[in-house]
Amino acid sequence: MRRRHLTTALLVLAVVALFAVPLLLDGGSSEYAGTDSRATEVVQESAPDYEPWFESVFSPGSTEIESGLFALQAALGGVALGYVLGRLRGRRTAEQTTGRTTGQPEPDRA
């Protein structure tokens, strides 16, 4: 069980390091613009005459509102994911408890 926890901790650490290390090594020289907007720029460079022919039906008024909405998306997903994992875990704990009190098939009765 202990080894299992260690593996989990190392996996989480690896994910954090994967994104933190480039940031630290970079030392603030990059802007970290999104690749999606980079792609839009490349389109405009290679096809300067191209006119986008449709506008977004709704645009968040500012970058603050936009990041807020992104946070909302992540939060909704996180809540749902946490709810499911919590329920599954609770179910397993409940099964273990009832298994212990009612007595699972006892080996010595064989």
Partner: protein, 247 residues
């Protein structure tokens, strides 16, 4: 991987919409069938959708000095097969197109094709291949999640290259240019996504074993008749149990 609203010429927008539509319709029917035939899957189905919802909202910095977001479509593809993700992924894209001005309605078809069709199928193929080669569940999950992520962005790059071929170097030149924007940036993200997938499946194998067995992700524990179970030596019974736990 979100092509911005209006940034595909009408012919391409319509073409990709036509290409993606059958997958999404088929996916909607697959979700309906799953819920009807295996109502106990609904929880996990929600988890798969939620996982994509979270991961596609988070923009992460990468080694190239750009940032990008993972896709999270591999988990659902592994659990429920890719068609289910064609619907769930498109719902996520629709949410982002309508509320976040990220992606768009005219580019929904193209984005759905990369994010909800190619990504899940490529990830599922990588998962199956890894497992067939003896990679185990978690190895397969890592490969499946990472490949789903990368394949999505490569598809986007090719879609943009098709729409905007370079005036001098043509299609290949444009593909190189767009892959340059997306592919390298995406590699660390794909690895990170693979690791997150491993974390998720480690939790699921412990807490959702019955569901994973029913979905064919884990080999079911041999079901023993009550009489047979009693006849079995206790040591032997425990032995098979342990073996299952190792897998």
């Amino acid at each position: 991987m979100h092509i911005a609203e209006g940034f595909l010429p009408p012919v391409h927008a319509v073409g990709w919409t036509i290409a993606a539509a059958p997958f999404v319709v088929h996916g909607a029917r697959a979700v309906g069938k799953e819920v009807r035939e295996r109502p106990e899957s609904t929880l996990l189905l929600g988890a798969a959708g939620a996982f994509t919802f979270v991961l596609s909202a988070i923009k992460l910095p990468s080694v190239t000095g750009s940032s990008s977001h993972p896709t999270g479509t591999g988990a659902g593809a592994i659990l429920f097969r890719p068609p289910v993700m064609a619907l769930l992924g498109t719902v996520v894209l629709l949410f982002q197109a309508l509320l976040l001005a990220h992606g768009g309605l005219t580019t929904l078809g193209a984005n759905a094709f990369s994010f909800a069709v190619v990504g899940p199928w490529a990830g599922y193929a990588a998962y199956r291949l890894t497992r067939r080669c003896g990679g185990g569940l978690l190895g397969g999950v890592f490969a499946g999640m990472a490949v789903a992520d990368l394949a999505t962005y490569i598809t986007t790059a090719l879609q943009l290259a098709l729409a905007f071929p370079d005036t001098e170097s043509g299609l290949a030149g444009a593909a190189a240019k767009f892959l340059g924007v997306f592919a390298v940036t995406q590699i660390p993200l794909a690895i990170g996504e693979g690791l997150l997938g491993v974390l998720l499946f480690r939790v699921l194998t412990v807490n959702a074993r019955p569901e994973l067995e029913r979905l064919g992700v884990l080999t079911p524990t041999p079901v023993l008749e009550p009489e047979k179970a009693r006849v079995l030596e206790p040591e032997k019974a425990r032995g098979t149990d342990d073996e299952e736990g190792q897998r």
